[in-house]
């Protein structure tokens, strides 16, 4: 019996326990992916926590995580299996004096003992259903994508020297994509789909409070509000949640208890990695945004409610 996480509420709780602040959308997608036994394709901007989903899923399911990081030129040898060449070479040396035939020797060195299991093979031969994370599938070539599609459909692979290996347990699969290219429709249709957007103010606040121990409610609110506003700017690279956390830690380390121009300028490198973006943020926008955040906090208006108003003011 495959372990499942029960219903959507339980998944939310399990995710929260593992330190992942999720909303119902994410929980539903994970739940259905497990229940319907279909791979989950997760797309969204960089740094919104796509990879985390697989990690947390494996922790919550109490199973292993096997990760396949994709890149351009990724081939079957790196993804599926490779022969252990040094070991093969040693064996050939050892057997040099013996009178075994070439065929016999060949059979020995191309047996399972000389096989290096790469992530895909590991995943299908694992002793219990693992979570298989295929990270940044958009970076792999189209050819690899087709190969992966085949594996995801048949759950078996063929190694010429050994034969066909069938999956012992079908893994839970999570694919992530940063959309550097469009994935094929065939692969998409194989999967359930989840789009993760930048978090809302409330969600980001919860993430910061949870992930940055020792941070004050006041500063955390300012950070979440600042992130919310800054993402509305016309930036080259919009900072994700990962950047928010880096920034929060940096501010904490510098013993800043609130945001002002100095503290933002000191730490701006945590958030913006393009010169143009930094220049844009450092401009008059920064003073206006900070003033509006402080004012809303002082008035006890509640930042969450004030944000859309501030957004409009800043735009004007």
């Amino acid at each position: 019996m495959r372990p499942t996480l029960g219903n959507i509420e339980q998944i939310l709780q399990a995710l929260e326990q593992e330190g992942y602040i999720a909303d119902r959308e994410i929980a539903t997608a994970i739940y259905l992916s497990i229940e319907l036994h279909k791979p989950l394709l997760v797309e969204g901007a960089a740094g919104v926590g796509k990879t985390e989903i697989a990690k947390v899923m494996s922790q919550a399911l109490g199973t292993d995580l096997i990760r396949l990081q994709c890149y351009e030129g990724l081939d079957v040898n790196t993804a599926l299996y490779e022969w252990n060449y040094p070991k093969q070479m040693l064996r050939i040396r050892l057997e040099e004096g013996t009178d075994r035939t070439v065929e016999e020797k060949e059979q020995t060195i191309f047996s399972e003992a000389f096989l290096l299991r790469r992530p895909l093979l590991q995943a299908i031969t694992h002793h219990r259903a693992p979570v298989l994370l295929v990270d940044e599938i958009d970076r792999a070539d189209v050819e690899f994508e087709s190969f992966l599609l085949e594996v995801l459909s048949d759950w078996q692979v063929t190694i010429p020297e050994i034969g066909t290996i069938r999956a012992r347990h079908i893994p839970y699969v999570v694919l992530t994509s940063n959309r550097t290219r469009e994935l094929s429709d065939a692969l998409r249709r194989r999967c359930l789909y989840l789009w993760i957007d930048y978090p809302s103010f409330e969600k980001e606040l919860r993430i910061v409070l949870r992930k940055v121990p020792g941070i004050s409610q006041l500063l955390a609110e300012q950070i979440a509000a600042f992130m919310h506003l800054v993402r509305r700017l016309d930036l080259q690279k919009v900072p994700g949640v990962a950047e928010t956390l880096d920034w929060s830690l940096a501010l904490l380390r510098l013993h800043r208890d609130h945001l002002d121009r100095t503290s933002v300028e000191e730490t701006i490198g945590c958030l913006f990695k393009h010169h143009e973006d930094q220049r844009l943020v450092r401009g008059p926008w920064l003073d206006a945004a900070l003033a509006a955040i402080h004012e809303a906090q002082r008035d006890g208006e509640g930042l969450a409610r004030a944000l859309s108003r501030i957004e409009r003011t800043l735009k004007a």
């Binding site: 539903t28 279909k38 394709l41 081939d75 070479m89 060949e106 469009e182 249709r189 789909y193 080259q236």
Partner: protein
Amino acid sequence: MRRPDLGDLTAHVVAFGRVLRERGVLCGPGEIADALRALGRVDVLDPEQFRLALRTTLVHSHHDLRVFDALFPLYWSPFPPVEAPGESGEEGVAQEEPAPERGHLSMERWAGAEETEGEQEVPGYSALEVLTRKDFSTFTDRELEEIGKLVVAIARRIATRMSRRMQRARHSHRLDLRRTMRLHLRWGGDLPELAFKRRRIRKTRLVLLCDVSGSMDIYSRFLIQFVYALQEAVGNVESFVFSTSLTRVTPALRSRTLREALDRLSRTVPNWSGGTRIGASLMQFLEGWRHLLDPRTVVVILSDGWDTGDVEVLHRAMREIRARSGRVIWLNPLLGSPGYQPLTRGMQTALPFVDVFAAAHNLESLRELERTLAARARRTGRRE
């Protein structure tokens, strides 16, 4: 474990799937089956769970999500709209079963409109836009075939030229250990011979943005053929058409025959021969497909540069496209006419960001393009 009322629901889910399909969403029997299985595993009486179950199973891309989010509240009208989570407590849960009368009717009008022949206005989900569907039947098969053959020949040559360039550019090899080991085994002793395998070639991507607004009418039919042929011949192509808004047509153009492709286009492109807002359309491209652009991407814009929209928007869009891509080629059919000067505001705004500005009014000019596309890409660094 079917619920007693799931029968009705099934019919509605099937119908909703058809509505999504009508709007170009990839949604077939497989998706419907998944959706129904998913509904068996969530609480269908909870509007939020119901919506999320359908959303996770019926849709496979970010772009389609937007279509889904726009259509869902219309179809399942008793459910509160997506944008207003605050209301769900009051009315949502009280509904016994989704009975999509009001929304459904308007859907059927859309679906029904497909059967009517010729050019006519149909309601779209942007009510502000006058959406027209173009009747492609004015093409005779013979005409299509003749121009098609020529265009295909040119597209093929462009494809070969591009790939030849790329092979010469990257000629590195990698050791094939597996084959080396086999050789080694045959000969015994130390490594006798190294076996190499060729490294994968990095491919150039082509992004085609074709203007199909009214002012381009006489050219766009012809250019669409070219885009179709190019997409067929070159592997890595993404195609879009635009007038007042932009539509990705890569899947539609992947049809087996041109006529089939044109049929699918007329169904998926809502505003054929409408007005032109180049800037807004390019912005839309950047919003949805910015990730397609990198220094290996060649962007080809086919347009006469008549823009009725905001030039400031066009300026921003062109600047970013240029900054992110390897090369920007603008093909203007008017450039072929004698005495033409690119003086329209739109063209003036765009020109500084264009690497190659060329004509595209006849087959000869497309042949010219072959040389242009095959040339080495401009060296770009990202803006620092």
